[in-house]
């Protein structure tokens, strides 16, 4: 699953952050997960459980989902992206490379593909907690 690759990246980034902050043990890793990619939170949690080792062995994964909001650069219209409107192939393509949304999604007001993802793209590491 692609989610495993994302958790590998989270753990690599969290290791760097723990190193920087001098943490011996990490107790909590917090993520923001944008809804654009349609990442499966259960698989993320499972992958975290399976892949965390060393100073992350006892860490708890906290996840907050963020709605994907788009803003049209042409007419300024803002809207919330809904994966349920996409067919299966398109949803899968956006899951792997969210930027291909520009190939398949248009501003519902003016029809332009020139929109920005205001928030809700990707997975972000927001904080780690632990013991020094």
């Amino acid at each position: 699953m692609h989610e495993w690759a994302l958790i590998e990246a989270v753990l690599a980034a969290a290791s760097e952050a723990a190193e920087k902050e001098g943490l011996r043990q990490v107790s909590e890793v917090s993520l923001k997960v944008g809804e654009l990619q349609g990442v499966d939170l259960e698989v993320l949690a499972f992958a975290f459980e399976q892949l965390s080792s060393g100073k992350f062995k006892k860490a708890v994964l906290k996840m907050e989902t963020v709605k994907a909001e788009f803003r049209c650069r042409v007419c300024g219209h803002r809207w919330i992206f809904g994966r349920e409107n996409l067919d299966e192939d398109t949803a899968e393509a956006v899951h792997f490379v969210p930027e291909v949304a520009h190939a398949f999604i248009k501003c519902p007001k003016c029809g332009s593909p020139d929109f920005e993802v205001v928030e809700g793209r990707g997975v972000w590491l927001t904080s780690i907690k632990g013991e020094k």
Binding site: L6, A13, F96, V100, G122
Partner: protein
């Protein structure tokens, strides 16, 4: 907030021997044909080779390779499909034939996403078909893949070569490795580009004449490698 993807790129690239970015200051000089034939020539020599089309808004290596309906596999990441012996990645696996208009930030995001989740495995060479110019993809590549080496393509035109000089100047200022310059679509015997390349202190790797029959070989690997361009690139590959 930290974008975790960047931390994974070195790990994903660690088993790749050499990354060769085929670049130019201008479009239309033959980068994609040279990147594709270089990758095929290296594979013919028995090396494990990947080809990654980084021209996200105007990808064309899939047309050169004559690809139909190949998809990456998903296995705790993305495993590129094998095409004519190459591990092949392109945004077309996801965008299909649809136009994909991307601004700079989107180009960066797509590049970082694919670099962080693509599992190339062990490769001797990864050839990158770069978009033209000194924009986001080039800057991200310099930032994210410090050991990339650049093979720069120009035509005989001063219009192309002037942009190449800017590109090469930037790369050398940033301490990137430049393998050398290829002069493509040459229509006379002028030695100006070769001399100018020497003045820049760079290797002049090959001069490739304009090859009228090339258009008919696009999409057919064997025909392509038997064109004069294919044969010249095989010679070049032998020296890399």
């Amino acid at each position: 907030m930290i974008d975790p993807r960047v931390s994974m790129i070195d790990e994903r690239m660690k088993e790749i021997g050499k990354v060769i970015a085929v670049s130019s200051g201008k479009g239309g000089v033959g980068k994609s044909l040279i990147a594709t034939t270089l990758a095929l020539a290296l594979a013919e020599k028995g090396f494990a080779v990947g080809l990654f089309d980084l021209d996200f808004t105007s990808p064309s290596t899939h047309i050169i390779l004559g690809i139909e309906d190949v998809k990456p596999r998903e296995e705790k990441g993305i495993i590129p499909p094998t095409v004519h012996g190459l591990e092949y990645m392109s945004i077309i696996h996801y965008s299909g034939d649809s136009a994909t208009p991307l601004r700079g930030e989107d180009v960066s995001n797509a590049l970082i996403e694919l670099l962080s989740v693509t599992k190339w495995g062990k490769l001797d060479y990864l050839v990158l078909d770069m978009p033209p110019g000194i924009g986001d993809a080039l800057l991200d590549l310099i930032r994210l893949i410090r050991n990339a080496s650049f093979l720069v393509v120009t035509t005989s035109s001063v219009l192309a070569f002037e942009t190449v000089k800017k590109l090469v100047g930037l790369l050398l200022d940033l301490k990137m490795s430049v393998i050398g310059i290829v002069e493509n679509m040459k229509m006379d015997k002028s030695a100006v580009i070769k001399a100018e390349t020497g003045k820049l202190g760079l290797n002049f790797l090959a001069e490739i004449p304009y090859v009228p029959e090339l258009e008919k070989a696009i999409g057919n690997k064997d025909k392509l490698m038997n064109t004069l361009l294919g044969r010249k690139i095989k010679e070049l590959a032998a020296g890399i």
